[in-house]
């Protein structure tokens, strides 16, 4: 285990199709994640469902983050500092399962994704390292 935090963090950028929830992302995504967290309360979920844009006006999201939330663009939300366990409150409020929401990030349809999982999931070969290509 490396004790050098710079080397430790640099390695995370070498994983294809993955955004590790580092301190930098956590800072950027603070309000995005806190907004998502607020949907754990039934009264907040009701207000959110009635008028999403009005609900978001109470939270200090960047325009980019707000647009990504309204578009349910989960890859974009991850890029802008969202964490999947926080974002899960948004798709749960939409009535989506983890499989339905997660598949939307892969470019596959829900059915294709489910077939992949039933066949043993996505193989690690070739998606472990960008630089090492293994």
């Amino acid at each position: 285990m490396t004790r050098d935090i710079h080397a430790y963090l640099a390695e995370f950028e070498d994983i294809p199709g993955t955004r590790v929830y580092t301190a930098a992302r956590a800072r950027k995504g603070y309000w995005l994640n806190q907004f998502a967290m607020s949907l754990m309360k039934p009264e907040n979920r009701n207000r959110w469902k009635q008028d999403e844009e009005a609900y978001l006006a109470d939270w200090k999201l960047s325009d980019e983050q707000r647009d990504a939330v309204l578009a349910r663009d989960y890859n974009k939300m991850l890029e802008l500092g969202g964490n999947i366990y926080f974002l899960a409150k948004i798709f749960s409020t939409d009535g989506l399962s983890f499989v339905q929401a997660v598949s939307s990030m892969t470019g596959m349809s829900v059915e294709e994704y489910q077939q992949m999982m039933a066949a043993g999931g996505r193989a690690p070969e070739g998606v472990r390292s960008i630089e090492g290509k293994y």
């Binding site: 285990m1 806190q34 926080f86 999931g121």
Partner: protein, 282 residues
Amino acid sequence: MARLTAGIATSHVPLLGVGIDQGKMEQDYFRPIYAGYDWTKEWIAKPENRPDVVILVYNDHASAFDMNLIPTFAIGCAEEFAPADEGWGPRPVPTVNNDADLAWHIAQSCILDEFDMTIINKMDVDHGLTVPLSLMFGRPEAWPCKVVPLAVNVVTYPPPTGNRCWMLGEAIARAIESYPEQLNVQIWGTGGMSHQLQGPRAGLINQEWDRRFLDELTKNPQRLRGLPHIEYLREAGSEGIEMVMWLIMRGALNARVKELHRHYHVPASNTAVGHIVLENEA
């Protein structure tokens, strides 16, 4: 004296709670998943195996802890903990009763042992804690044992290293040994196995890596404690990092353990389900 008799590890996939809560256990998709827990349910129901207390190591999934508070190791010390509303209402499962005396004893002992524990009183417990209870005990009116929740941060980086988790396990074992009450105590490590819930690489499963991890819990556990985070991430997916929590369980057990039971199944939702029962050998 209290005795630590066994360790159990299991995935805590939310869908497995849904399957039990909604009575879907006999459906084709679910049957092979739950069948792997039948052995354990029978074993743990026997009076000689039934724990008085389970130290349940799990991670909170943005339920009790938001971005305002990120404890690395948090031990629940209140009398009871309610199931959390994770966005679709709380699971219809019993309230979790703690052995608060033992929990406080472990907290104090670990702090003196140089582990800077966070002590939590008010806390709702999410699927990370309640799904393993359902998998082992089904749908009882009340959980048949006390539960000490031990929440580990595996969400915001860096989580604790595998080695640190192992050492915390050792400190918990010392704390249990020094507790004067006659108690049968188990420690459970939950989460994993390989899965990734985010980004274009979502759906990653690495059966070979998972099976080696299961093998080495008995055959070569010392290697596991040295695995760097990057290996979990590359090989077992971004959420595969949860498996560091299994090392708290393993570190708490003796050097020699006997594997009593194992189950591995792909998939449940996005995840490879792994489960193992280890008994302490003298």
